[in-house]
Subunit: 456 residues, 2 copies
């Protein structure tokens, strides 16, 4: 009896080693394929250089939808579909202008409108300025000081955070929320320091929100160099005036699409592993890192599996989400439809942190399911993915949280991301081919393990 | 008695926890300082943009020596010295030219001379070509085929390696050694495919070696795009001719210097922790990543400690080595002098893999000493340095190996390094300020722990 028991234990150990070792061989094949025959760099070149910045509702966004649909179809996967979704349609208008006037001296500074913003009066909005560091300071000054002024929210991202997303998480609320809070105190306009850790002359756009009952005031982002200059001038001359001119317009919601391609699972077709990124992008740059990279990496997952002739046990589905940047309607629509579907998205991997060198994954969901996924970490260490942690999935897949989906954020190196995020500097020349491919391979490897073993 | 014993054990545990926690606080201070008040980016700007490519023996190399000496002196460290070292003096000469002629059609391709190389005859060296993949193939073809020809060594770096230094390690011997081996078979010239994983039109230089008894033939590196084009032409036309023209010259060895600055240890001044990089750089680019970054990071270690008013127990010494690229004379000289010194370099950290985002450290030395250093890994994980391994130290510090010095290579992310290594693309605009600072902080933290606890 005891002998049998020992034998069984030994056999189980051998089987497990065999399993891990076969899995490791498969992962090696996935990486080899990604590093030698990938299509993602070519796709991203097209998305960035032939299409370019593609905000929801724009012609470019619909060209991007068609492009991804066509390329997925060429991969000869089992199914390619468009999922209809109504999205906001906001247009920037003319190139924005801004200036600071002190004692008749006029200094031009670089700004851009924040997404969803209203226009200034023709000729610009001009006024005295109140510079503040945060909302606490603004509210302490109160209506007496703020009313009728332009609020300059000069809150830098904190360079002491090691992961730059933490610095962004702390500071980005000032971009999103200052216009509403300043309007409530009677301000007539808002200038926000750009959300970047680099000192340069590029303004960074991004979503902001109004509160309808309070009313809408124009709000722009100023480059960090512009913010430093602006701050220096108004510290010397309290009566200095800020002027800016913007002509954005909001149009009625427009029909757009999520693009979905999938390889149907051979054993559990109704269990779906999603890999995705978002197809819309701010139009100051060409959206190469945010988030063209994520979209082509998700597409590359299907390409690698097809090239290796792998038949996953569970369905692997690539989703190019629409409208992450200014509404999140694509993610919302996907989750809403998923709820009614008999097929369940058991896990979702989103790449939306740039196409940089892979560092790890971040997991959100049930603790036991996360433990199971984390047990695969060792197999990824030869590929230098050491950083596996509980945390955040992604803006598009987050809507799936209440369906019990395991949410996984692909984490590339974060140091360079906010140099280009939402700015004219987010362009294809900042992409490194190998870094992009390594990210696709990491996502494909994890998606494949999830398809083999599920989450239970 | 038993009670006392338990008490002692508890006290020891508390002391150790306290120790680690105090150390962690110190490391946090080092990072905060590096990320907010560092000088390294400004120094690198000067080295790259005001001085530029600074090959051993050149005026720029001696300007760089003076610059580093002055800046270390300004830091008000305990001692700044120049260590004399004789170095090779090789000069590239005129811009190199190369062309492929097939059926009277002439195609220009981008090349550069390899370091230490001899000139072609005036008007260029022209001849038929034998393309080979490696030395095995070349030697199989033998003298009958090779004699009188130009050998085209078209050996690409292997993209399947995850750490690009492994691909370089496998391929770089063809740059260094092909001229000598081809000359032994009677070849009259050599063209080597550039050592890079990217497909672009920049040739990458680097050291090569002759065997005096065989004789010297001109050898150049061709860009990867040039290599692809060249290969396609000679596959169609075996009689196609390659021509190239280069005018490098070697001059007598020249006096140069390692620059050394140090903070003397308060308790064990004779135990030295070295931090270093190399000051010389190939002159096609400005040497920002290779290895201006390493030099300014090593300087920054002293700056951080001075700024924090830290008195290390052991001596911390910054060394800017001369002549890593084409001779290694600076490292050799340092180790030679160290042998005679009553002070011992117990550990040495070299940064010579670019100024990219830090990933970890690689250790070479006695296993027990390495184990002790590796026990500090946990304290570096909040700073995303997960990759600690046995391996390689660095070319300059390697000469210290037989003195029992613990050799430590700082390992940044390797993906982008060979895009610019030894090429015109190695320029300051490829540097990210935060990545550079994070590297300096990592080195300072490890140097500080070594100075507190030694290696025994």
């Amino acid at each position: 009896m005891r002998k049998n028991y020992i034998l069984i234990v030994l056999l189980l150990i051998v089987a497990q080693c065999q399993g891990q070792s076969n899995d490791s061989i498969m992962i090696r094949k996935i990486y080899d394929e990604a590093l030698t025959n990938s299509k993602c760099m070519g796709w991203l070149d097209f998305l960035s250089n032939q299409i370019g910045g593609r905000l929801s509702g724009s012609l470019k966004a619909s060209q991007a939808v068609t492009f991804v649909q066509m390329e997925l179809t060429k991969l000869n996967v089992d199914q390619v579909t468009l999922q209809e979704v109504m999205v906001p349609h906001w247009v920037r208008g003319n190139k924005e202008q801004a200036w600071v006037t002190s004692n008749t001296k006029k200094t031009m500074v670089s700004i851009c409108a924040l997404g969803g913003n209203v226009a200034t009066p023709k000729g610009g909005l001009i006024g005295e300025v109140v510079e503040v560091y945060d909302w606490l300071e603004m509210e302490k000054l109160g209506r007496d000081v703020i009313s009728g002024k332009i609020v300059f929210m000069n809150h830098p991202m904190n360079p002491k955070f090691i992961n730059t997303f933490e610095a962004y998480g702390e500071a980005a609320k000032y971009r999103y929320g200052t216009a509403a809070k300043a309007a409530a105190l009677g301000a007539k306009g808002v200038v926000v320091r750009s959300m970047t850790l680099s000192l340069d002359d590029y303004p960074h756009t991004g979503a902001m929100g109004y509160v309808d009952s309070i009313g809408k005031i124009p709000a722009c982002a100023i480059s960090t160099i512009g913010a430093e200059r602006f701050s220096a001038i108004i510290k010397k001359d309290k009566k200095a005036q800020f002027g800016f001119s913007m002509s954005p317009q909001s149009f009625p919601d427009t029909l757009s699409h999520n693009v979905i391609g999938e390889i149907v699972g051979s054993e559990f077709p109704n269990e779906v592993i999603l890999v995705g990124g978002h197809l819309d992008a701010w139009e100051l740059g060409d959206g190469a890192h945010d988030d063209g990279a994520g979209v082509v990496q998700a597409m590359e997952v299907l390409h690698i599996l097809k090239a290796l002739n792998v038949k996953p046990k569970r369905t692997i589905r690539c989703v190019a989400f629409m409208n992450e940047e200014n509404g999140g309607k694509g993610g919302e629509k996907y989750a809403g439809d998923a709820k009614k579907d008999k097929r369940k998205t058991i896990a979702a991997i989103e790449s939306d942190a740039g196409g940089f060198s892979p560092r790890g994954f971040s997991f959100k969901g049930d603790s036991l399911i996360i433990l199971k996924a984390m047990s695969w970490k060792k197999m990824f260490e030869p590929y230098l993915l050491f950083d596996w942690r509980k945390g955040y999935g992604g803006a598009d897949i987050n809507h799936l949280h209440d369906q019990g989906t395991l949410l996984i954020g692909f984490m590339p190196d974060s140091q360079r991301y906010f140099d280009l995020h939402h700015a004219a500097t987010d362009t294809f020349d900042k992409i490194n081919k190998r870094e992009l491919e390594l990210g696709a391979a990491a996502m494909a490897s994890l998606a494949w393990l999830l398809s083999e073993y599920g989450v239970k």
